[in-house]
Symmetry: C2
Subunit: 480 residues, 2 copies
């Protein structure tokens, strides 16, 4: 526990805050015994009277209680879980939850080259309007009744056909609709994980994986992401060292790098996972941005130890959300119970809208246009970034992201902080990095870089960060 | 562990199944040590060779492994959580998940007097059509962008105004939109509970509370529900004996009984909860069925230790779902992080549809019509049930349910099982009862009883159950 980084005023206040944080992160659950005053004072390198006063204050607040002759214990007062307190304490600028909130909360005056979705005018709004009008003419039961446990059958049939076309042999009964891709991963974590388990992710990875895994209070190990897939030596070593239960990854197009998976790496990942009895969740939400079919673990594995999830929030609409899980039948059965218990009937209107959008040829046409437009944008934005000394890590074959290295010596978090003061939300590398090793990287969403202001603010923030020298708060990761 | 109730063929098969069930319920987590062969054989009253063979079989399957000289341990092979295996093992007819699936999966040929929602033709389908058409004309960003973390502001403002009118002083910033009422409760359980905690519910209570609490692997204690609220002596005793962390209840109209809460009982519940530092979740989804304002814990308490949740799945549409949580600001803050981590952007289309339906006077008119129609239906269905010897426990002042006692000696689960063979889904009392003490009760949804077939099948099933004498499988609860 690091008492120097917690706020609260004075040494006693800092000890109080440090204990409160550990309670909010459930590291000290109800009825847990606190360290003795003497031992804790030694650990924190403060005086015993400081710890004694901190404990007194927490007793007065009802957070802990004293049992004479036995010590101090956490009370059973309500101690709501705080995700912000779980895991290592990070600077705000590289905290996944804080970055998500900036992106989701920012109004229209805010530019968001750091966000993970397309601007509204790149999305098929006219098709949405048509789907809404169509739906307004459908039978009453569809508009007002609960959905079936697995979800809208026509959509599941369509998804099954899509999956089979991609080589993933999933019957409609093996496809469970969820309220979003995020909720699909969350449900799988509930199905497969216990607090304290270890989970592998790519390093870097989609930052909300890191936030979601905090909610499950598991240990997260980042495996360095190479242009062809995870670093196999690190992957193999992590299997031996950490006995992880799950590996969560994107393959179709990797977020944030835009890389794909080579067939050789995919084979090796599956062979190693087989040996270690590791389950894999393959998040395929960016696959439709791929100009040509890329390697999928689920296709190679035949949905044995790989579970595929997807959604259309990136390509169709993020306003009527609908995700899916394709998995082994026995797991779908258990997931269905979990879905009923935690959300009862799903959201049939969203499923019907997505179905209407997917079933005719307009989705294919929309995607073709989108891929072309994105290809141009990747070229243009890449050139503008290079002119600022910002170098793409690879030239992705598809997708909306460029994962870039900033010029030598610049701290991406500092640049992001300065840009935010001018209403530009950037995505600094360490927000994607479980190991906090991507300090000089930044993810750019090429579709959100059309305003010249983006590059002006970026240039200014970089210059200012360079002038202010080394980052203000030292290394980004501050262990808690 | 009860090996007699598990299937699987032969004594060895039963031991194997019993262990598998405990692993699926996470009662035996990864790396847990199994009892010694000798001790387990004694516990199960089987021979040591039976246990030894069962262990061998599980080793061969990779479910457990042997460490020479140390014993048998659960492996780290994927062991997905099975809600069906959590908690006491119940007959299918009184298992909350099974009853939910019957209700949600049954096609139009199935009659559902046991379900918890109105028939499609009682719901405002024309208003939904209008709202969909309106939405098809709105700006593109609303149709395709992610929602803000708290959710659609106009809807939160409207909900805040409604709450304030009911005496619950919740600002719009204290209202968080969720994907459904069920998801709202699930999020609160994630915020407030740890596996092993104790939760109080009413006995009887809404059966999906029991399913949901299995997913959180907590201990559930049922407090007998009286016509004026929970039995105060039992409530008080449970606080002392079990130190529960949460009480989940409906007040506006209680499901399944249709009872309301008296002011005196509400005061006492709050005073006792204050003393015991108990947090209360008040699920208010049936409140709009109430002809006049009824007592709400959240109004008395001022959202200090009470959290209110609600949704419009019962009164407007269950197809475009949207729930809400009204709570203290500091809890809303933590819930918002949890929402981002587990579902990212919510479902803005659903929120916009619900807002469109609520904002003009048509919702009020729809409710007025609904309440009258329900009042007539309660009278008519009550009379038909009494003619069969089925007696309502109280005459509710509002709502869709009649909670009824069957004639002496009849087992509601048996009657439900027989009725299901004729495509009529009933809701036997024990599906609502944590203590399995409502064997002779049944919940009727008066709006789903219009088909004369319901009463014909009910009469026939009761006659058949009476002929077959005592229930086939003894008491419903079979401890696992």
């Amino acid at each position: 526990m690091d008492v120097t980084s917690a706020g609260g005023g004075g040494q006693i206040g800092r000890v109080v805050d440090a204990i409160r944080q550990r309670i909010a992160a459930r590291a000290l659950p109800a009825d847990a015994k606190l360290p003795s005053i003497r031992a804790f004072a030694r650990t924190l390198d403060v005086s015993t009277s400081t710890v004694a006063e901190a404990y007194e204050r927490l007793v007065a607040e009802g957070v802990i209680r004293s049992r004479p002759g036995s010590g101090f214990y956490v009370t059973r007062a309500p101690q709501p879980l705080s995700l912000a307190a779980v895991g290592p304490r990070l600077e705000r600028a590289v905290d996944p939850l804080w970055v998500s909130r900036q992106s989701l909360e920012g109004g229209t005056e805010v530019l968001k080259p750091g966000c993970g979705w397309l601007p509204a005018d790149w999305m098929p709004a006219e098709e949405m309007r048509r789907a809404l009008r169509q739906l307004s003419r459908t039978e009453a039961a569809v508009l007002t009744d609960y959905g079936t446990p697995l979800g809208h059958l026509p959509l599941r049939q369509l998804l099954s056909a899509r999956l089979v076309e991609e080589g993933v042999m999933a019957l409609p009964e093996q496809v469970l609709l969820t309220e979003s891709g995020t909720q699909a991963i969350d449900m799988l974590c509930r199905l497969l994980l216990e607090p304290g388990d270890t989970v592998l992710v790519d390093d870097p990875c989609y930052f909300n994986f890191l936030a979601l895994l905090r909610a499950h209070r598991v240990k997260v190990i980042g495996i360095p992401r190479m242009p062809t897939g995870p670093d196999l030596a690190a992957f193999s070593a992590a299997l031996t060292e950490h006995a992880p239960r799950l590996y969560i990854t994107n393959c179709g197009l990797h977020n944030p790098t835009g890389a794909t998976l080579s067939l050789a790496t995919a084979h090796r990942v599956l062979a190693l996972s087989e040996e270690a009895r590791l389950t894999i969740v393959e998040d395929d939400i960016f696959c439709d941005f791929c100009p040509e079919p890329s390697t999928r673990l689920a296709a190679l594995d035949g949905l044995d130890r790989v579970i595929q999830i997807g959604s259309f929030s990136k390509t169709l609409t993020a306003a009527a959300r609908c995700g899916y899980i394709a998995a082994r039948s026995d797991w779908i059965e258990r997931l269905t119970d979990l879905k009923i218990a935690s959300s009862f009937g799903g959201n049939p209107i969203s499923a019907a809208l997505i179905y209407a959008l997917l079933r005719d040829g307009s989705y294919r046409r929309h995607l073709n246009g989108l891929r072309e437009r994105l290809s141009r944008a990747r070229g243009e934005v890449g050139a503008k970034l290079k002119a600022l000394g910002i170098r793409p890590w690879i030239e992705p074959g598809g997708g909306i992201f460029l994962w870039c290295a900033l010029p030598e010596g610049l701290d991406a978090a500092e640049v992001a902080r300065l840009a935010l003061e001018q209403d530009v939300v950037l995505a600094p590398g360490n927000v994607f990095s479980a190991s906090q090793s991507a300090r000089s990287f930044m993810r750019f969403n090429v579709a959100q870089c059309r305003e010249p202001k983006v590059f002006g603010v970026l240039r200014g923030a970089m210059a200012q960060a360079r002038r202010s020298g080394t980052p203000r708060h030292g290394e980004a990761g501050v262990s808690a």
